[in-house]
């Protein structure tokens, strides 16, 4: 993702990551992995619930987390592309997200 960031920016798309992790956990992740895109924290899964992608007790410690989901949202807040994997091993690929981003006009 980070490696393709320049391509997303060229397509005019700002990637934003969201999870239930606390800000300091995400900061560690960003520092460790060198991520520069925004990572937002939804510790109570309020927004995750609002998007109807809650995975109840999905974490190994039975915490509520987000099921993996990606939404390409335009300036009118309309979904232009989305992806919901059926298998957590099958993660969204930067390639397919970039292809969707580049199709925007």
């Amino acid at each position: 993702m980070e490696k393709r960031l320049a391509e997303f920016e060229a397509a005019g798309v700002r990637p934003v990551a969201i999870s239930v992790d606390a800000p300091d956990v995400s900061r560690n992740l960003a520092n460790k992995s060198g991520y520069t895109f925004p990572i937002l924290s939804d510790p109570d899964a309020t927004v995750i619930r609002r998007y109807h992608i809650l995975h109840t007790a999905g974490a190994p410690d039975e915490h509520d987390i987000a099921r993996p989901a990606e939404f390409l949202v335009d300036s009118s807040k309309i979904v232009r592309w989305c992806n919901f994997t059926e298998d957590i091993r099958v993660r969204a690929r930067a390639d397919e997200m970039l292809a969707a981003a580049q199709q925007l006009r």
Partner: protein, 161 residues
């Protein structure tokens, strides 16, 4: 029906072991994030089922025809070892697909709900801010300083642990 007095190697068991290892090895592919990874999940399950079928066949032969398929102890040992990767592959397939459906989630053409969430420095960031020209959203993010992005790509992930 094998002839009496004939000796055979229990080939099924060894093939079972091989398929079981390949089934588990398929999981390594996911780390590469390749285009055909969706098919690999099913392939891993298929290999595991083939492995279990072969192992059952081998075990049955060793029990029913002990005089032809000798070295029964070895067959049992290999079967026991091979069941672990084959079983893990089947369990893994089931466990990683235990995901709630996303049918109620916003779909293409639908509007997404607004939100305001804390970034890594604890500063609140709204969807409106993300969609407008702002450089301060993320410290290392240089673009979209003067021009608003066409879109944001919201990536919900399971978290980091």
């Amino acid at each position: 029906m094998p002839n009496a007095g004939e000796f055979r190697n229990n080939v099924a068991t060894w093939w079972g072991l091989l398929f079981a290892i390949v089934a588990l090895g398929c999981n390594g592919v996911f780390f590469l994030n390749l285009p055909f990874q969706g098919a690999v999940a099913w392939l891993s399950l298929l290999f595991a089922i083939v492995a279990l079928t072969l192992l059952a066949t081998g075990l049955r032969l060793a029990i029913v025809y002990p005089k032809i398929y000798r070295r029964r102890a070895l067959t049992v040992l290999v079967t026991t070892i091979a069941i672990i990767p084959a079983g893990l592959s089947v369990l893994g397939f089931v466990a990683t697909r235990k995901l709630p459906s996303a049918t109620a989630a916003p779909q293409v053409g639908q509007k997404v709900p607004d939100f305001t969430l804390a970034d890594t420095s604890g500063k609140p960031v709204s969807l409106d801010q993300l969609l407008s020209a702002s450089s301060a959203v993320s410290p290392g993010e240089p673009s979209f300083e003067s021009r608003a992005p066409k879109a944001v790509l919201l990536i919900f992930y399971r978290g980091y642990w």
